[in-house]
């Protein structure tokens, strides 16, 4: 078990260059003991680099890593007590499931009785118990991935489990089981778990805390709710949630926000800096409401399109040159022609130069 701290970690793959490109720009992060974390971002954002720095497969150009306060930066992978699960299952094809799970313990010279006890415990947890005698290569992809995971879990010296897109090769119907297993493992063993993915749904389902990355930088760290309800940048608002957050340009006019569709009041407790050229309001499609008449908190638009998705209907509303999406339950009525949209104050975000304006609470 361990708290992992990244202190001023930065990495470049071209250390000899005069003007190196940093795959990872200076960052500080603390991963608490027993927490579940997701590193989320598009390919090339630096998330795998970060994972490999933690496991020791890469030495970072700058900064250090602390495990429970002790500097591990110079230690080799074998000394770091970390288990890693990769995108594709890694199994010893000539061994049985039992031998696969036992192997890390054999390498560490654990006595036979203890080995069997631990393998049985892990096999029980992963539902591999009746398959222990079978050749590992004969198992389906999802079960092979469970073996990779199990080899990390049998060791009682493991303090953190790192996973790099572990569900890529798993059939959609089977993902449910593995997601559930991972959650149970976290509760059962109290392992610190770090999960790398480009898939928002994977990240939001798995982790208590999500680290959103883009272009070598951490953009926001927060719970799934925080990312959804209060995206700190417009990028996160776009990236998290479907359809994306709506953004409409506005200007500050006293204590009002002037949009192309009319004025709405500045939300309570929000102080918007003056003279910002790039000011926008942001609101989730789910939070926009059709309202009957002009009101102080509504803006005007025109229905352009209604799309059916089965479980939901999405109306696209034109607001002069811009547009807003409104998400409704299936079967809900959508008005036609000119409409007024209410933007509830508690759900309204304002972005100055693409960054969220904070509220005083």
């Amino acid at each position: 078990m361990a708290t992992i701290e990244l202190c001023d970690i930065a990495h470049t793959y071209e250390p000899d260059s005069d003007d190196p490109t940093f795959a990872l720009k200076a960052l500080n992060l603390v991963w608490k003991d027993g927490g579940t974390y997701a590193l989320l971002g598009p390919s090339g954002c630096g998330k795998t680099t970060m994972l490999n720095i933690i496991s020791g497969l890469i030495r970072s150009t700058r900064g250090k890593i602390l495990f429970d306060g002790v500097d591990f930066s110079q230690l080799p992978t074998t000394k770091r007590n970390i288990a890693q699960v990769f995108q594709f299952p890694v199994i010893y094809t000539l061994m049985s499931v039992q031998e696969n799970l036992e192997f890390p313990l054999v390498c560490r010279k654990i006595p036979k009785g203890e080995r069997i006890r631990r393998v049985n415990e892990v096999a029980e947890l992963l539902n591999l118990k009746d398959k222990l005698k079978r050749p590992a290569r004969k198992l389906a992809a999802d079960e092979k991935q469970l073996i990779s995971l199990g080899r990390g879990l049998v060791r009682n010296d493991v303090s953190a489990l790192l996973m790099d897109e572990p569900l890529t090769v798993i059939d959609p119907q089977l993902k449910f089981e593995i997601r559930r297993k991972l959650k149970q493992i976290n509760e059962h063993y109290g392992l610190t778990m770090v999960y790398v993915t480009h898939d928002q749904n994977e990240a939001m389902t798995f982790a208590d805390t999500i680290v959103v990355m883009n272009d070598g930088e951490v953009i926001q760290t927060g719970t799934p709710q925080e990312l959804y309800n209060r995206p700190e940048t417009s990028y996160v608002g776009y990236f998290i949630g479907s359809p994306a957050m709506n953004f409409i340009k506005c200007t500050l006019a006293g204590n009002q926000l002037q949009t192309a569709g009319g004025r709405i009041p500045v939300p309570a407790g929000m102080s918007i800096p003056a003279n910002i050229q790039n000011l926008k309001i942001g609101i989730r499609p789910r939070h926009v409401q059709f309202t009957n008449s002009e009101s102080a908190k509504a803006i005007k638009g025109q229905i352009q399109l209604v799309q059916e998705f089965g479980n939901a209907r999405v109306a696209t509303v034109g607001i002069k040159e811009e547009m807003m999406r409104v998400k409704l339950n299936y079967g809900a009525e959508v008005p036609t022609g000119d409409v007024w949209l209410a933007l509830p104050e508690e759900n309204l975000c304002v972005y100055a130069d693409e960054k969220l304006v904070n509220r005083n609470r």
Binding site: R179, R180, K183, Q200, T205, Q225, N229, R284, K327
Partner: protein, 359 residues
């Protein structure tokens, strides 16, 4: 003018890959084929393209026998799950390739390729090699190469499955616009995702185990699924199914749960039924106790997998919430949205929206 499949069968070792398929595709139509993996969707497309020969049945295009026409003479374009492009050619040359092969002069081929690249939003990328593009852009190149041929039949086999959800969302929007202009072609698009099939299709076909189990206008199929299997496939998460009976004006479900029979089911005789309710028609409330097996987040929704005396079921909340495994929650059922199926799984009665489509 249409493509007509009659009694098409493909079997291997006793397993039906296509099971007595009868379909008519009209020119200008966009057909989505919805089904789980191994339902026969890809085999259907490969048969239309001529890559696979049926053991039985006929395939006619505009009145002439299409099965006799060799693959290379069929004016068919196909886009696959994997992005297939020529790695050594730049984007423009990739898209112009089929035209150049067909002997279209270079200038004209390039001009047509540029038009199509504009349509798929890649105008600024024509000089790049495929490897220097994102997954979504690579799939656009493959789509552009399919469009440039102006084929009579355009087949797309789960073209978005290998993209992450933001890109899928974007490309789905684009597809809708791109396909609108394909009035001379028959477009057939396979997917495992109900939302995609409903959003894109003019007509929708549900496949299962090699056969067609329902077809029609997407909203008609969504609102009035013919069987439990259809209801499971067309809903994501799948529709919840509960065993129960109607007795003395009440619906009795497992675990002693009792509901008033809603108006749309008032005419049903007493007896055993299977009841269907969409995950969106359950709410956190006070009626039924259950435990959280897993909470998943999909886009902007929280999907709760629950287990209680009533059985296992799924509830869907708009917005993002966290629930730990093992948490106890209380759930309400919206009885106005309940479907009733026979014990064998055929639709007997549904809510107003369902009945409107069945009439």
């Amino acid at each position: 003018m249409a493509l007509i499949l009659q009694n098409i069968d493909i079997r291997e070792n006793g397993v039906a890959h296509l099971d007595n398929i009868n379909l008519m595709f009209s020119r200008g139509g966009l057909y989505t084929v919805l089904g789980r993996t191994l339902a026969g969707k890809t085999t259907l497309l490969r048969t239309i393209a001529g890559l696979q020969q049926p053991q039985k049945g006929t395939l006619m295009l505009h009145g002439s026998d299409y099965l006799q026409l060799p693959v290379w003479k069929r004016r068919v374009a196909m886009v696959y799950q994997q992005f297939i492009n020529y790695p050594h050619l730049n984007v423009l040359a990739n898209v112009a390739f089929p035209l150049r092969r067909a002997g279209v002069p270079r200038a004209e081929a390039h001009q047509r390729a540029r038009e199509v690249l504009g349509k798929v939003g890649l105008t600024d990328f024509e000089k790049r090699r495929p490897a220097a593009l994102s997954g979504g852009q690579q799939q656009r190149v493959a789509l552009a190469r399919a469009l440039v041929k102006r084929a009579e039949i355009l087949l797309l086999d789960e073209p978005l499955v290998n993209l992450d959800y933001k890109l899928r969302e974007q490309l789905r929007e684009d597809f809708q616009n791109i396909f609108e202009g394909q009035d001379d072609a028959i477009v057939v698009y396979t997917t495992t995702e109900p939302a995609e099939a409903i959003q894109l299709g003019h007509q929708m076909i549900i496949m299962d185990e090699g056969g067609i189990i329902q077809q029609g206008e997407p909203l008609a199929v969504f609102n009035a699924p013919a069987t439990i299997r259809c209801a499971e496939i067309i809903n994501d998460p799948p529709m919840n199914i509960f065993y129960g009976t109607i007795e003395n004006g009440d619906i009795q479900l497992q675990g002693g749960i009792q509901l008033k029979v809603p108006a749309h089911m008032a005419h049903l005789p007493h007896g055993p039924y299977r009841f269907g309710l969409r995950a969106a028609d359950l709410r956190l409330g006070s009626m039924i106790g259950s435990q959280v097996e897993l909470s998943e987040i999909s886009g902007s929704q929280t999907i709760l997998h629950l287990r209680g005396d009533i059985g296992t079921f799924i509830l869907y909340e708009e917005g993002v919430y966290q629930h730990a495994i093992g948490d106890t929650v209380q759930v309400d059922l919206n009885s106005n949205r309940i479907y009733s199926f026979s014990v064998d799984g055929d639709l007997i009665a549904g809510p107003a929206a369902a009945e409107a489509y069945r009439r």
